[in-house]
């Protein structure tokens, strides 16, 4: 426990010092939330844009921390031999993974607290009953996107991970139903999007936190598959050096 605490504390300290990580994990979701809720540009399909955007950016926050921040951070740690050096310490792989999970969860909690507070200030009032499903979806999404982030970090060079994670983030941001509803996308693109992990995550969180909303069952199936397959692939293919 002492080792996990020590490692997690260091991970959090280093994350908090990275400007670009803060931008991706808090800056962009906040900007989207504030900008598009005050200027009704996006075809959100709801009367008040905030009712769609607030749960949408909560899903976005999960994707940015679990995939982008974790993937890029770990990718550079691998490139700089940080993982190699840790491998010679008594920390061990199991506790290293647990520290990574703890770090991602702590950052996500901070993101959600900030984003939910900002959303409520902007007039959002989600149904209380939806939180259990939303949090379950967020945990599945965290598993899926962490798996993807670590898969990239463990197989690509540091800079390639940076490019791939940011590229994928942008594609999934636009096609994942987080800020633009899937119904607005061309049907074939929407069909493909449902098979990727972003759209089901958005569907679950938005569906749960919308008054009178519901969650389509394809979303649970698709996201659960990703939550199993991605971490498994990362575990099998991850190279430490």
């Amino acid at each position: 426990m002492k080792a996990i605490r020590s490692q997690t504390r260091t991970e959090l300290a280093l994350s908090s010092r990275q400007g670009e990580q803060l931008l991706v994990s808090l800056g962009i979701p906040l900007l989207i939330l504030v900008f598009f809720s005050s200027i009704d540009l996006l075809p959100t399909g709801t009367e008040e844009p905030i009712d769609f955007l607030a749960p949408g950016v909560l899903a976005l926050a999960v994707m940015s921390t679990a995939m982008v921040s974790l993937g890029i951070g770990t990718g550079f740690e691998r490139t700089y031999g940080v993982l190699k050096r840790l491998g010679a310490s008594p920390l061990g792989r199991g506790r290293w993974v647990m520290s990574k999970i703890a770090t991602v969860l702590v950052i996500e909690v901070i993101q959600w607290v900030v984003l939910i507070s900002a959303s409520m200030l902007l007039g959002w009032s989600p149904p209380l009953s939806g939180w259990v499903c939303a949090i379950a979806g967020a945990l599945l999404g965290t598993a899926a996107f962490s798996g993807l982030g670590l898969l990239m970090a463990g197989t690509l060079p540091g800079l390639a991970t940076l490019a791939a994670a940011n590229g994928l983030y942008l594609i999934l941001l636009l096609t994942g139903g987080m800020i633009i509803p899937l119904s607005e996308l061309p049907a074939p693109l929407a069909a493909v999007a449902k098979l990727l992990p972003a759209a089901p995550l958005a569907e679950i969180i938005i569906g749960s936190l919308t008054v009178g909303g519901s969650v389509a069952s394809w979303a649970w199936v698709s996201l659960t598959c990703w939550a199993v397959i991605a971490p498994l692939a990362a575990a099998l293919l991850f190279r430490w050096e």
Binding site: A3, R5, S6, E77, Y80, V82, K84, P90, L91
Partner: protein, 307 residues
Amino acid sequence: MSVIAEQLSIQYGQTVAVDQVSFEAQAGQITVLLGPNGAGKTSTIEHLEGYRAASSGSSSVLGLDPITDHRKLTKQVGIMLQQGGIPTAIRPRELLQQYAGFFPDSLDPEDLLARVGLTDRSKTPYRRLSGGEQQRLSLALALIGKPKVVFLDEPTAGVDLEGRDLIRSLLLALRQEGVCVLITTHDLAETERLADKVIIIDHGKVIAQGSPSELMSATSSDHLLFGATPNLDCAALSAAVGSQASETSHGEYRVEAPPSPALVAAVTSWLAAQNIQLTDLRAERQRLDDVFRRLTDSSDSTGSTDA
């Protein structure tokens, strides 16, 4: 014996990096793996650290297998990688506190910072430390868990003179405490000063091993070397001392006879008669340089010797 390698070979694909290497390193001694770059030193030490499997042969560290018992060994072994291994944004104090948290019983990070002379740099991000400071921090990291064995890969590379003195005194202190210290280097001066035991490796093979004094007197000498003013009359000298004398390089001379007191007297009195300044005189004992060059030259390589 703390560390044993027996007929150890390591292969990368078709390339044999380490070829049937055998040696031992014991507690309370500094053992140096000496060799030119690419000789197989790092592959050997990374095997003992648990990173590279051997293709044949066997090894043990504190009686355990470095690969299969790696997890058990991490608590008792301290390592210093040749490069990297430390996040660029981390601060020295933070790094030592992080690793201190991995061990049931560790050194106090503050004491250790003071011992490696980094107390006033404790809040400076790693990337802004000088090369020497980075090496000292990396050494501190190797020591944080009170190891019984330390593996240090090129610990003085890129370190200034002052830093070298500090690292040397830390290593001597470890030896005093009974720690088994195994280091790699291509630095002969460092080896001569520190080593209790030297293992010379070239092209993946051990070509000589022993204490520095054993190595330096390994071949009983059949000649006398001295330095003096260049362009002496070697024919006259040969006649005067009764043995063949020649100038091997500018101002370096070699007399082909066992260095008996009589020969030494004959050479120096011939020099005295002509009032020639003697710059150095080497009899039986060779310098480690000479041994190293002779051994590695014969196996066709270029040993670098930045002092």
